[in-house]
Amino acid sequence: MHFQLTDDQRALKAGVRALLAGRFGREALRAAADRPGVLDRALWRELGEAGFFALRLPEAEGGVGLGLPEAVLAFEEAGRALLPGPLVATHLAAGEVAGAATGETVVTAASGGLVEWLTEADVVRGDATGAVPLVSVDPLTPLHRLPRSPEASPDVFPDASAGVSPGISAGVLPGVSPGGSAGVSPSTSAGALPGGSAGVSPGASADDEPDPVAVLLTAAEQLGGAARTCELAVEYARTRKQFGQPIGAFQAVKHLCAQSLVRVETARAAVYAAAVTVDPLDIAAARLLADDAALRGARDCLQVHGGMGFTWEAETHLFLKRAWVRTQRMSSNTYSDELLAADLLSGVG
């Protein structure tokens, strides 16, 4: 057991961080926030060239041939940089949708009753028929709301009372391997954008059976956001002075920062482990901890920034709003709670 990053993994993480710092630094982030709804296609192609989307595609198919742990590290960095766009959906479409792997095609997905970046996407996976735009709380994530069919239940919970896990029980998922591409359920319909130019992909994952890999990569983004808000809070607490000393010298502020780090480190262990095991229960746990770390981390960061935290100038609100968006992606947190509850009654005894 060597549950630490390998040298190659460290190098990959550092490489992605450097790429994003150079190409999507603070200035670019501010500019993007002031220009809502416009996706930087050039950046998308650069990500494609760097292998961000083709990371898990086998080399024989023109990919990088790496595994889920590496993808998680890359998505953590994307979350840290607050990189906008339907990154998870495009990454999952690599090898299945032409041009996704290279960043030529922007792919989004209908999930959780919402579609991110619908008008900017070339391909939408899942049924986006009748989607209507809403005024997104996150200036960096345009959103459409999906019409809810009356017979559809928002979430299909595992049958907890029966004491068994649902179809995706413990163990490695069929169709998903750490080195391969995500399994996609082929049964659901796909729809073209109303009046748009988007293509239609064959096959998409259904809303009620969340693709665990998509859940995990979203959790990785949440982890990155949580880690960054912890850093921002600490940086501010070290430099901002009140009552003649840095506010970080005050225990109340210190404790906010410490709690933030504790949430990040615990979530990190859970997310990385889930990337190694690809166990749906590990993924559910990772998601719950990462969501919590991201949401509370951003709130505490805002609090540490005091009045500045409530302004548009401080980036904290962008982290909080993106964290909110990501918690709505795929299934609800309750789905993950129920999955993990059902696990407690499974197995021997």
């Binding site: 057991m1 070290r238 840095p246 010298a249 005050f250 225990q251 615990t266 262990a269 746990a285």
Partner: protein
Amino acid sequence: MDLSYTPEEEEFRARLREWLDKVLPTLPPKPSPADWPARRAYDLGWQRMLYDAGYAGLHWPVDAGGRGATPTQHLIFLEETENAGAPYVGANFVGLLHAGPTIAAEGTPEQRARWLPPVLRGEEVWCQGFSEPDAGSDLASLRTRAWRDGDDYVVSGSKIWTSHAEVADWCELLVRTDPDAPKHKGITWLAMPMDAPGITVRPLRTLAGSNEFAEVFLDEVRVPVAGRVGAENDGWRVTMVTLSFERGTAFVGEVVACRRVLRELAREARRNGRWDDTPLRCRLGRLNAEFRALWRLTQWNVSEAEQTGGVPGTGGSVFKLRYSHARQELYDAAAEVLGADCLDLDRPWVLDRLSSLSYTIAAGTSQIQQNIVAERILGLPKGR
């Protein structure tokens, strides 16, 4: 990132499992928690069995009589013994996890030869004389005095929260030998025989009703200078060498135990109908996530310790903060499952719930741990 174990580690696990299967049924029944002499005998008996089987001091260095096991092997040992329901380290806690490693790291050859073998063989029990009524979290403000008189130190003062004091043979004692020095500089580490004249042990009753620890009063107790580990006035550094060990792997077995308790709670909830309560069910699911993550964090910290030569880092404080709160949440959830029965001390988990209240206080309060994390890991300035 690799969570699989090597063939050697799996072999180690298999042999340990086989041994546990064989010896655990031969153990005598567990003594009553109130019967200290019986508890001492039981815990020392278990230590002797470990010694005879070659598992004593697994994580101690070989030149200190240990097995020099890797942190991963130690993790497997703690995981398997807990899973098998083996006894806890109990009265051997301070000797095996604290005083022993301190003497191994800082003692003279004579001191190592005198004190380490009896700990490993299960012949002597140690207790910890660190805390005082006015020196808990602020340990360095301790006031128990010691002054030289020939070949002895003469010690006067009092200690508190001393577990196993009633049955201990030795006490790892921190005393102030230079009252004029800065508070971290004038402290000395002594091995004090608990049968020396002038020692009075007064048991303290906890809120759980048990006598888990005691106050120890010291009235001109003579401790031979030969029992001083490290230099005079260098006791703080000696202590810091080993304090991190306590926070590294001390809770491994407990995390395994908590995961088992959580499964038992779910079954009890299904039995008594509380499982149909969706918020409660989700709360148990969330705790499942919590303890899975804590187990992963343990594996992460152990792997890191392996890389850094076995010394646990400040990650121990992160773990301790999270775990101590999670444990309390677990038993609060247990109360929710039990309903009105949570007021019945004869029911399972009720006493555990009371005991869990100490976890955010003992071994450094959560508030102090947060200061440690903020100052030593995050680099925030010292202050108030």
